[in-house]
């Protein structure tokens, strides 16, 4: 196994506020890594640094072998990114979205056509290829968005709350897609508010107030805190932080 994401003492400050406070971790190739934390814990800031959109204040991080601070362009070319908010263009058809993103990722027309065809076939979207994405049910949109984020066969894919609002069957189908790409060697870095989904990850980390408060396999993390579920662990870690905020205000 090789290291797909290496993070060492990564820190980001905004004025006097430290959003990400010296976090360190490694993610191996083909690993499904769950990046958890309460709202405002610093997850989004950390992800922005890892995908080369925000410069670290200090510390180092490399993704797919490229330094996020000095080789941000290379990082972005070798990763896929999908979030609930930013994914596909509603007013373009399924086919047009694939062509557009294939072009952005620098794929040749032939490759775009071939991969687009097989993607449409595997998602069973043959009948909908010329429909506007806006007309697709949310669950399909999310699956399509994930496939499009994988179009250039990136080494690492970042999924930011990919299953919010999705029905429970589609949510599980989505995770089967995640397993499939991980088995092919792609590293999956995923955030979620569904703690049962966190159980599907090979390893998880839980961020609290800019720091990583727990990390390991879901079983290790539960054992460490003597908890039956990750929900309990989360509550245990997050509630004291919220309580101290309220006091200091």
């Amino acid at each position: 196994m090789t290291t797909a994401i290496a993070v060492k003492d990564l820190t980001r400050r905004f004025g006097s506020f430290t959003a990400v406070d010296s976090i360190s971790f490694d993610v191996q190739s083909g690993e499904v890594f769950g990046f958890l934390g309460a709202n405002g814990a610093g997850k989004t800031t950390a992800i922005k640094m890892l995908i080369g959109l925000l410069a670290p204040t200090s510390g180092d991080a490399s993704v797919a072998g490229f330094d996020v601070a000095t080789q941000a362009e290379d990082v972005r070319r070798h990763i896929g990114y999908m979030s609930q908010r930013f994914s596909l263009y509603d007013d373009l058809t399924v086919r047009e979205n694939i062509t557009l993103y294939g072009g952005i990722y620098g794929l040749s027309d032939d490759v775009i056509r071939d991969r687009g065809d097989s993607l449409i076939r595997e998602l069973q979207l043959d009948d909908s290829r010329d429909e506007r994405v806006a007309s697709l049910p949310l669950g399909w949109k999310q699956k399509l968005a994930f496939s499009v984020a994988m179009l250039h066969e990136p080494a690492v894919v970042f999924l930011d709350e990919p299953t919010g609002g999705v029905d429970p069957i589609t949510r599980r189908q989505f995770w089967e897609m995640i397993y499939t790409v991980a088995e092919r060697g792609t590293t999956v870095f995923v955030t979620t508010h569904y703690l049962d989904e966190a159980e599907y990850c090979d390893r998880i980390s839980i961020m609290v107030d800019g720091r990583i408060a727990a990390m390991g396999t879901p079983t290790e993390v539960k054992q460490k805190f003597g908890a039956a579920t990750l929900d309990e662990v989360f509550l245990h870690l997050v509630r004291p932080a919220e309580a101290s905020h309220a006091q200091s205000a």
Partner: protein, 324 residues
């Protein structure tokens, strides 16, 4: 429905055969249910189930294509203005003024309804006490959980007789979600009827009754425990160290009806409804061990609301099985 206008005690909410289309899309398809006085009633379903459309109809912002609905005995089409002054509505999107302070937002919403923060104090106190330390902060600078609490205060400050909350916990972390539902418990104890929607299945259990919704249709209406109790198949929790292989093995089992991952387990429904779950468990345990699985655990369990929802959804029309 006009006879209900004078009946006492009035049912806070009655929905009868409500349908609504947008072009080719059926947003609501013959939806019916009642909410009883003092009830915390949940609309539970994924995005696209029709929850927001229903809220817009019930708060008189949209007219149904067919069917009728009354709020506090008032018709949602004919008695629009009377309804608007009597209900509290917290829309799904953040609806406050980010450049106004916490206190200014609350004063504004109070004044729109011709009242003051002090007059609404008794009802908002349990929530407002938690955000009052931040009353001078801009609403746009609040954390997600705090914003939700302020929005709830703004929907309550005019002392409504019914409260509508459209996905108040969407995008909110697990701890803040739990705290929000604790607040709804407090409000429920005051006797205020509440209609609340959510895409989080686990939140259904916090409601007195729920309507499970999917693509504009109501799949079931009942207390969550009653819906779970009606689950038609023997249900087992399976666990083995070889988790991914286990999914396929369980699906390939000849009597498998439904197999879904739940955290680090699988929930396995068996098609043989006449067999005792313990016997099926013994059979599966032996089979999986024999097939080389390790750390095998098989135990009969009771269905939860998410099991029930997936069973009621049935299989999607297309896309039964998906490969990346």
């Amino acid at each position: 429905m006009s006879d209900h206008e004078t009946a006492t005690p009035t049912s806070p909410l009655e929905v009868r055969g409500v349908s609504k289309r947008f072009g080719d899309t059926v947003a609501l398809d013959d939806v019916s249910f009642d909410v009883s006085p003092g009830e915390l009633f949940g609309l539970v379903g994924p995005d696209g189930a029709g929850k927001t459309t229903l809220f817009r109809i019930l708060t008189t912002l949209m007219i149904p294509d067919s069917g009728t609905a009354t709020v506090l005995g008032l018709d949602v089409v004919g008695d629009m203005w009377a309804i608007r002054s009597r209900v509290g509505y917290m829309p799904g999107r953040f609806s406050l003024y980010p450049d106004l302070s916490v206190e200014e937002n609350l004063s504004f919403f109070a004044s729109v309804f011709g009242t003051t923060i002090d007059e609404g104090r008794s009802i908002i106190a349990p929530i407002y006490d938690q955000i009052e330390p931040f009353k001078d902060r801009h609403a746009g600078d609040l954390s997600g959980g705090m914003k939700q609490k302020l929005a709830l205060c703004c929907a309550l400050v005019h002392r409504p007789k019914v409260l509508f909350l459209d996905e108040p916990t969407t995008g909110v972390d697990a701890v803040s979600r739990r705290e929000f539902w604790d607040l709804l418990d407090v409000l429920r104890k005051s006797g205020l009827p509440i209609l609340v929607s959510t895409a989080y299945m686990d939140e259904a259990t916090r409601c007195d009754r729920v309507a499970l919704m999917q693509q504009g249709r109501v799949l079931a209406v009942d207390p969550p425990a009653a819906i779970s109790a009606r689950y038609p198949y023997p249900l087992l929790a399976l666990h083995a160290r070889e988790r991914h292989k286990l999914i396929q093995a369980a699906r390939d089992y000849p009597h498998a009806k439904l197999v879904y991952p739940f955290g680090d387990e699988l929930h396995y429904s068996d098609a043989r409804t006449d067999l005792a779950p313990e016997r099926i468990a013994d059979e599966l345990r032996a089979r999986l061990t024999n097939d080389g699985f390790t750390d095998v655990r098989v135990a009969p369990i009771h269905a939860g609301i998410e099991d029930a929802f997936m069973e009621l959804m049935g299989k999607p029309a297309r896309l039964e099985k998906v490969a990346a």
